[in-house]
Amino acid sequence: MDPMEAIKQTYFQECDELLLAMEEGLIAMESGEADSETINAVFRAVHSIKGGGGAFGFEILVGFSHVFETAMDLVRSGKLDPTPDVVKVLLRAGDKLSDHVTAARNGGSDAVDDAEVKAELAKLTGEDPEDAGAPAPADFEGLAFAPVMIDIGDEEPAAPPCPIWHVRFAPHAGLYAKANEPYLLIRELGMLGPIEVTADLSKLPDLSALEPDQAYFAWNVALKDCPDRTKVEEVFEFVSGDCDLEITEEKVEAAAPAAFAISAPGLPSLDDDDEPAAAPVAEAQPEEKKAAAPAAAQAAPTTVDLIKQTIRVDLDKVDRLVNLVGELVITQAMLSQRILDSVQQGQTVSAGLGELEHLLRELQEAVMAIRTQPVKSVFQRMPRLVRETAAQTGKEVRLEIEGETTEVDKTVIERLGEPLTHMIRNAVDHGLETPAERVAAGKPAEGTVKLSAEHRGGRIIIEVADDGRGINRSKVREKAIERGLISPNANLSDEEIDNLIFLPGFSTAATVSNISGRGVGLDVVRRNIMDLGGRITIGSANGKGSKFSLTLPLTLAVLDGMIVAVGEQTFVLPLSHIIESLLPKSADVKAFGSNGMLLNVRGVYVPLVSVGRLLRVPGAKYDLANSVVILVESEGVGRMALAVDAIVGQRQVVIKSFESNIGHIDGIAAATILGDGRVALILDIDGLVAGCREGTGGRPTEYQQALGA
């Protein structure tokens, strides 16, 4: 890759981090908890984004961040009080800056409308918004690098001849203290044209009176062939103020002879690049420099690297590692099974195998942990979302975030954004009341949405809770009946009514607002979560609020499964979906509908399906009553009993996706390789339930009735 392109990638990665830091800082400022370092960090973030943006020529981005930076500079220097109103503007500016970065990343195709925010920022800083976007005033240094015409043609019409510049340069002691070096400045002049140098030693005192850190020398330099005064001035740019400098111009007649000689008695010309010219300077300096030289040479080969404790690794590399370890686990399992089959019980080899298995399990966990990230990267997008949704709906909302350092697999994090966005919007748009309604209900005008994450039992629980009006159950019920989702006389528990809002095509909002989406409802959220191997539940208290809980696996790479045998095949059922396994009595199995079956589980009827029949597995038993039944729970509509031939065991399996090779198969989630080397399919319980719901002609209504029976 082109190195600049690689740096550009780094820049955008860094922008993401900086934007995050900025947002955190701004939110701290909003809550009044920001100390000066936090404010400084926000300033630096904007500053760095601007700086890098300038290097890549993102002018619009630079223009906007310049105005933003100016405002932050005023805040950090105490000239602008970060009142809530000011911070609001800054937060909006932060959002816009993030948009600008995205636009720049996408090649600048999508224009960002920042006029309003820019104007508000300019109001804070007192800058003219028209001026505000303009790049910083052209620097002296910049001017000096204007292209110089190089035309060596002899027939050039009589250009005015170059004057001779007489430069008198007398350094002060401060010049040396800042490590400037007259020799280098004179050398620089020599690069502009031929020079003649004379040293003025008249100020040099007797040795007894000589102070080593004082400046005694001055130089007179005559420079020819340099047309531009600014170029001469530029040489002394760093030392202006630390020296006496006079530059005078001697006009040269057009006919002036080419010969150029200014007497330089006793001093060698700098053209030879001879060290002696600088010698007096070196003497005037403390000894340190010479003594330091060998040390520098010694240090040169050592590369002092960053002390940072993190490295960036290509995700592909990590995935390869994860895969290899997965294979290793499988191979170990195969090996141990074969060894145990062939050796006598109780031999030391089996103890060693146990140890190996233990170590491998640990290795696998460690490797998996590489892929985990804090949920922060998703959570950090939510404050902005809440602000925007609140502004659009005219609500006052405070977002509380907890547990953002909770870690979960990167793939889970990547796919969490969409459902979470939907739920947060839903909470603000539908969950919370308007400020007026809240006050009328005796609540504070400002509503609270709480987003939290925590680890619980090898899974991650993410909750979105609001203190709004809660779910209006009678309205939900009405709607569900109206839509034909339940029968008018269905007898549903509160929980079941709440869960109705996850059904496709259900929307409780009287009018479809443009916030929570058009026609895209919570059913999509649920689908997303289920695709991740998770589940979503809802709790609600009328007038007090509602709470959505997501339960997600920590990783999509391994799964705890129950291995079952069906005919000649072996299948894996995700343990997370299994409630219990049982051996049914034939009396408990009832026919239902045309070819459906129900199983009486301690007085509750549950649809019963034969996995063998459903998947047409060769050699499967069809005698349901003599099968082993595994009671599973599917998201949403409830439980189901799956009949299999036998339970083989329970173990962790490495998930091998086959979608990229043979596409999606209903009812099958993925495959795995078992200890004996055989491939087993992992059943997609939710897909199976959905599939056989159609197969048995069942509808949610009927299941609900069956459940309620």
Binding site: I7, T10, R44, A55, A136, Y183, E288, A299, V304
Partner: protein
């Protein structure tokens, strides 16, 4: 011919760009991400030929870093170039008062950067 140059900047982008420009010109580049880190790195590295530092950094900013170096480290006499987007005279003056040798205005092109180094280091 190559010099040993320490760059101090909290922005990874800027560090990468400096490294690219400087090592491309045959210099040895060592890096630090803020003033405190810069001081630590210098303690290990000894005397370097040139130091290039940003101004706005966490923990210890460029002014503090320059003052620290000038106050009596082994690199007391090492040229220090300040890297800043600020072209306001006030910021430059403050850096100079702290002991900076010169400055480079961001965004820099590599040629400008090398010219500034040439102007402060033999």
């Amino acid at each position: 011919m190559g010099k040993t140059i320490l760059t101090v900047d909290d922005s990874r982008t800027m560090r990468d760009m400096l490294r690219l420009a400087l090592s491309g010109a045959g210099h040895t580049v060592i890096q630090a991400d803020d003033g405190v880190h810069g001081v630590e790195v210098l303690e290990k590295a000894g005397v370097v030929d040139v130091i290039i530092t940003d101004i706005n950094m966490p923990r210890m900013d460029g002014y503090g870093f320059i003052e620290h170096v000038r106050r009596g480290s082994a690199n007391k006499m090492t040229p220090i170039l300040v890297l800043t987007t600020e072209s306001e005279p006030a910021k430059k003056m403050r850096a100079r008062d702290a002991g900076a040798t010169g400055w480079i205005v961001k965004p820099f092109d590599p040629e400008k950067l090398l010219a500034a180094i040439r102007r402060v280091s033999p």
